[in-house]
């Protein structure tokens, strides 16, 4: 069982790190593209669009690197989950307001839709596993062996 947890732990870390590294890279490569998506959400003040577009991708890159290194993994996973939840909320609000906007998650041409919302929710799962892994292990140990 411990081996299975170890594999799952590494799988979640690599997946999450890959998502953040790729997403950050795409945004650094095309800042105007990301700024345009942020503007389309109609949620941020105009003055904040470019500062967010400039710094947010680096936060993603940093999270990706730290996830790979494995430093303070639960806190980093918590930060990753917070960031993913924040963007999931923004996308959901934009979608339910009926605004046709690009997701801006991994480049252009990706309209916010139930699919993008479901995909972003799925990204949250590895982060949640890393946060609650100790509790999950403990809970498994308290279960009677069959």
């Amino acid at each position: 069982m411990a081996v299975a947890y170890k594999i799952l732990h590494w799988f979640c870390r690599i997946i999450l790190a890959g998502i953040f590294l790729y997403s950050g890279y795409v945004k650094i490569k095309a800042p105007l593209e990301f700024a345009s998506s942020l503007s389309a959400y109609q949620l941020f003040p105009a003055k904040l669009i470019f500062p967010i577009a400039d710094y947010f991708p680096w936060v993603e890159i940093l999270l990706g690197i730290v996830l790979l290194i494995g430093w303070k993994i639960r806190f980093v996973a918590l930060a990753a989950a917070g960031l993913l939840s924040f963007f999931l909320c923004i996308l959901a609000v934009t979608y339910f307001r009926g605004i046709e906007a690009d997701c801006g998650c991994f480049g252009s041409g990706d309209r916010i839709s139930p699919f993008t919302l479901a995909r972003d929710f799925m990204m949250l799962l590895p982060a949640l596993f890393l946060i609650f892994e100790p509790q999950l292990r403990m809970w498994r140990q308290t279960q009677p062996q069959t």
Binding site: A30, L32, S36, S39, F50, D102, S108, G109
Partner: protein, 207 residues
């Protein structure tokens, strides 16, 4: 013999040319007649793939690109290129594209006038397809005669096809789609773009 980057790129096979090109964004040759505004060596190059019958393309031209043409192109900050990308589901957009390309051959002034007229009166000609009336309001009688002659030529049709091929190569699926080349980066933006945002970006690139 002086070997320019362009000559070197021509001599290399595709993937090597792409690698040699890095960090410069595009190897595509710019034809002067395709430039709607600005100079080819401007620090920011915007290439728009547009359909005359598409409402979002109308907004992009009238609300954003007209301001780029007025404010940024004369200051040599931006080179604006327009490509025709008539969508199949728009009945008259190919005809409109042919009129536009015919006007392009007369000069930038006539081309801009025809484009503005076509976008402004989009709701009118989209119903009856009477584009000639709209174009007649934008240019002189002499120019209109020339445009009428030109749209009958096969070369205009070929030019539309060439733009469509280029758009397909760039994996365009909807209009407007624009490519912004600046600081060695290529950015693909699908849909509209506010002028204020674009202006801020241009000013950051051209300091």
């Amino acid at each position: 013999m002086r070997i320019t980057r362009r000559k070197l790129l021509r001599s290399l096979p595709g993937p090597f040319a792409a690698a040699a090109l890095w960090p410069f964004a595009s190897a595509q040759e710019i034809k002067t007649e395709q430039i709607l505004g600005g100079k080819p060596d401007a620090p920011v190059r915007i290439e728009v793939f547009s359909d005359f019958q598409c409402p979002a393309c109308r907004s992009l031209y009238l609300d954003t690109m007209k301001q780029v043409l007025r404010d940024d192109c004369p200051e040599d900050k931006v080179c604006l290129i327009y490509h025709e990308f008539p969508l199949k589901n728009h009945q008259f957009s190919r005809l409109a594209a042919r009129y536009s390309l015919a006007a392009q051959r007369l000069g930038r002034r006539q081309w801009q006038a025809v484009m503005e007229s076509l976008y402004t009166s989009q709701s009118q000609w989209s119903i009856d397809g009477n584009i000639d009336v709209i174009v007649a309001k934008a240019i002189s009688v002499e120019d209109l005669q020339k445009v009428r002659k030109l749209i009958a030529e096969a070369s205009i049709n070929d030019a539309v096809n060439l733009d469509l091929t280029l758009g397909n190569q760039k994996e365009i699926t909807s209009t407007p789609t624009m490519f912004i080349y600046a600081g060695g980066k290529e950015q693909k933006i699908v849909g509209g773009l506010e002028y204020s945002l674009l202006k801020e970006y241009i000013d950051r690139v051209v300091k």
